[in-house]
């Protein structure tokens, strides 16, 4: 309760302080949202300022907002003049439908992707990835907006099976849910398969099999045990999707909270942003708490001291060679691209199809796609790997230090990306470093929650209890018991998220954050190329293939043991 109030007040203050951080005049941004082409005449701005009674400073503004919010008055939007209570809750309901269905579908997909691993574990064999694993890793690397646009072009326009946009009935759910759930399901599937593999090494599995427990019973138990790790991740995904689905909501014209929050944040319509953020933060805390509780409930009585016995999983078959092979292919293409000029424009070759002159085609300005692919590799992959390493360290540290409660991570996860982005852009200035900071601020959270979940299991294990009762210090416990059990799966998880991080870097470019406008960075190329999907599919296919190769290779890399 106190945490919740503190979080709402804190984030409310952050939102309230945005105009002061960014230095943008509130009256001007509000006027801009109402009338795009209107000149910001000083007399008009003064009149507007007086009419809206804009707060004198962020602290006073936030305190009076909090006071009114507690008594149930969310105020009215500065832009539209409508009561916030009539704008934000319906949008949250729509986003809730979308995010909830997407999260449920992602869980189903994850279970399907992990089912070969479960079967093998129940048979006492090790899982090395297999076709399901490769597919899951590939899906995890696919950008949501590319899936969305391809879905519209093929299923809605091409086949005429589903509506292209709108959100008035269940038929409108299918395409957006698939766009959101396929990558999420792929990622969760890989995490789940990893958890299954760890579970397979536990002594009880051997005992059950030796005792002749039926195969399906062992499979069920293994799956349930492994799901304990994934459930908090699903809740994280669910809340994250609520406020951050602006891109998908725009593609499908869904009147959801992501778009409301985005438009309001850009217009500095503080009453709307503060209400949206407060709701999301409370939901985030509730979901974080629920994640912890569900994890405990799934572990059951085994979750108490000494009840679990995590052990070394059996050695995996060598999948590393595949990863090396894929990376070599990627490296070769990148090298070939680096030998060419990524900046030379030739408008005569606009959208030229692949040919000898342009082996992978040309973009809208006639620039060579192969050359841009090569030149974009370092800024995309290099920076994403660097960020992944940083957030791995942060995430593991935060997950180990946290005491198994919902906290800062859940609050940050619930914040719409645009709010974080604007805050960072205001403080750090629009730059690539700013984008890296904004992405890092959020990217550590799933890893921290993963660590938190795994650490809770280790702390409940017999060997941890034994070490603790025999007087082992905290450092010893962390080094010898927690880290060896936590690092490999969390490290793998971090690798799986590398392509996603590369995309997130480009996703903030509308705020001026990230690589420059003419940068060949992959995420940027994808975003620029997606309008030409049907006229020049190679503009989308090439960087997307790069991300997928990277994702599959990352998914196959062995971490530890």
């Amino acid at each position: 309760m106190l945490t919740g109030l503190g979080a709402v007040a804190g984030t409310g203050l952050l939102v309230g302080a945005l105009p002061w951080l960014s230095g943008d005049d509130l009256a001007r941004t509000v006027l801009r949202a109402r009338e795009v082409e209107r000149e910001p005449d000083p007399a008009v701005l003064d009149a507007l300022r007086e009419q809206l009674d804009l707060p004198a400073d962020p602290v006073r503004g936030t305190v009076s907002w909090l006071g009114r919010a507690v008594s149930g008055d969310l105020g009215t939007s500065w832009v539209s003049g409508q009561p916030v209570a009539e704008v934000v809750p319906p949008a949250l309901g729509v986003s809730g439908t979308l995010a909830g269905t997407a999260a449920a579908v992602a869980v189903v997909l994850a279970v399907l992707f992990a089912s070969p691993a479960v079967r093998r574990a129940a048979d006492g064999r090790a899982d090395g990835g297999g076709a399901a694993g490769v597919l899951a890793a590939a899906l995890a690397a696919l950008p949501e907006f590319v899936l969305a646009v391809v879905g519209v072009a093929v299923v809605a326009v091409g086949w005429g099976l589903l509506p292209t946009s709108g959100f008035t009935g269940p038929e409108h759910l299918v395409l957006p849910v698939l766009a959101l759930a396929l990558p999420a399901g792929g990622l969760l599937g890989r995490v789940l398969a990893g958890a299954v593999r760890e579970t397979a090494g536990e002594a009880w599995v051997r005992s059950w099999r030796a005792a002749g427990v039926s195969r399906s019973a062992v499979q069920g138990a293994v799956a349930r045990r492994a799901l304990t790790v994934v459930v908090p991740q699903v809740l994280l995904l669910l809340v994250g999707l609520l406020g951050a689905g602006a891109v998908i909501e725009a593609v499908f014209d869904v009147p959801g909270l992501g778009r409301v929050a985005l438009a309001a944040a850009l217009a500095q319509d503080l009453p709307v942003v503060q209400a949206a953020v407060a709701l999301l933060v409370l939901l985030g805390l509730a979901a974080g708490g629920a994640g912890v509780l569900v994890h405990r409930a799934l572990l059951g009585p085994a979750g108490t001291d000494g009840g679990l016995s995590p052990e070394l999983p059996p050695p995996v078959p060598r999948a590393g060679r595949w990863a090396a092979g894929l990376l070599a292919v990627l490296a070769l293409v990148v090298l070939a691209g680096l030998l060419r000029d990524p900046t030379a424009q030739d408008l005569g070759d606009r959208l030229a199809a692949p040919s000898w002159a342009h082996p992978l085609g040309a973009d809208a300005l006639g620039r060579d796609v192969l050359a841009r692919f090569g030149a974009g590799a370092l800024p995309s992959v290099g920076l994403a790997l660097l960020i992944s390493a940083v957030v791995l360290v942060t995430g593991v540290a935060a997950g180990l230090l946290g005491r198994g409660r919902a906290g800062l991570a859940d609050v940050l996860n619930a914040l719409p990306a645009v709010v974080v982005g604007i805050a960072v852009a205001a403080v750090a200035g629009p730059s690539l470093a700013g984008a890296a900071v904004a992405v890092s601020l959020v990217a550590w959270i799933p890893l921290a929650v993963h660590t938190r979940t795994l650490a809770a299991e280790v702390r409940a294990s017999g060997f941890h209890l034994a070490a603790r009762t025999s007087g082992a210090g905290r450092g010893h416990l962390v080094r010898h018991h927690l880290l060896p059990a936590v690092l490999p799966p969390v490290g793998r998880h971090a690798l799986l998220r590398v392509p996603h991080t590369a995309l997130a870097l480009a996703g903030l470019s509308f705020l001026g954050l990230g690589a420059g406008a003419e940068s060949p960075e992959w995420g940027r190329s994808l975003a620029d190329g997606v309008v030409y999907l049907e006229r020049a599919p190679w503009l989308v296919a090439v960087p997307a293939a790069g991300l997928v190769l990277l994702g599959v290779a990352a998914g196959l890399v062995r971490t530890g043991r």
């Binding site: 109402r34 209107r38 326009v157 008035t168 629009p430």
Partner: protein, 492 residues
Amino acid sequence: MSRPAGALLALPLLLAGCFAPAAEGSADGGQRLALALAFPPVAALSPFSDDAVLVTRMGVGETLVGLDEAGEPAPLLAESWSRVDDRTVTLDLRADVAFHDGTPLDAEAVVGALAAAAAAVPAPRSIDGLGLTARAVDEDTVEVQVAEPDPLLVHRLAAPGLVVLAPSAYADPAAPDPVGTGTGPFELTELRGASGATLTADADHWAGAPELAGVDVTFPADAAARTAGLRAGELDVAVNLPIAQLPTLTDTEVLSVPLPRLVSLSLDTADGPFADPGLRAAAAAAIDPQPVVDAVYEGRADVAEGLVNDDTAGGLDRPEVTLPRATDPAGANIRLATYSDRPELPEAAAVLAEQLRQAGFTVEVVVAEYATLETDLLAGTYDAVLASRLYLGDTGDPVGYLAADLTCAGSYNLARLCDPAVDAAVAEAATLADPEERRAAALRIEAQVLSTGAVVPVLHERTHTGYAPTVSGLVVDPFDRLLLGTETTVEE
């Protein structure tokens, strides 16, 4: 599956009731048209916001006067008007007009509507700060007066922000509600937030009963969503289609209308490299708009000869432009900013940047959403700004644009130009009453401005409206305010 996980999966079923409200079925027969407009209402269709143009485009609300193709006032709700003196005009209202709620359009209703607009904060752009007052002379004559002599008084009444709604619409005078209160061929019967609106034909409209029975409007902000809806046959008409996707529209027609909208490169004359007139001249000489029009706009725009297009110039000669003597850029560093809200601008900026590089500049291109850029654009953070501007404003007159964008005190002066000669010329042009004289003055100012090299005109845009082959009778409006009329119809 275990119980908690099962409960998790059941969660969405609880939420599944939360969809956007659907249009209420209207099975009263007749043809309905599915229309996608370009942006969702920002203020529940209050005409004192950008939503005003949605109200007029849907054919829901009408203004006292309209603008003809030359930008001159044409009769609409007012049948005729006469100037009393240089700050007063009387308008005779059309006789047989009723609002959609049944009340008649009389002088009192018009006076109330104009008074609400004049009192709004901020007032609609065309009348802001003029001290506009209105008075009923008799039942169907209105007298409108402003504080200072104003040659454009009648033009101003054509602004979409001044649509006349029924008295019942002004329950909240700051945010009039056009639901059921317009006078246009279509009655707005339902507005569903940002997701859609339902229109029903007004069979008693003064210009005759519309051919259509009604219109279903959606507001997809994403241009690709509008294109896809049109291609999938879900929409009959979709506005503001992106040029990049027009070639994919094989089974639909595209209506391209030249707009009074200029894309130009403004060079920061106050500081940085372009404070030097020689470098501005070098940049102006380096810019070649033709490749931008041919490649990025795929021929669907017109190379700009000056700030205003030939329609606005109205056959008058453009005075000659003489640029200062160009100096060698010698690798001068410049930052060129543009915004991604208009999809073609980032590509155009990349082409122009390359042209400047060929001429010897070192160019960095900055692209972001307009909302995050505006403060910096106006503060002169960037050396060059590629922007798109409507130059005929709400009144069909270019002098207001020249004053706002190119004078010392102008509030949207991207080039930060401060030239006393230009200021004096603009001030003088604003006093002219004859339309042709005003245009001639605008062309002289255009030549004066271009001769400073502060602004490099690139192209004039067109608007692209896609429609199914079964649709006919769309209204072609160079001011982009009208779209649906009584003759608009869709076969089958």
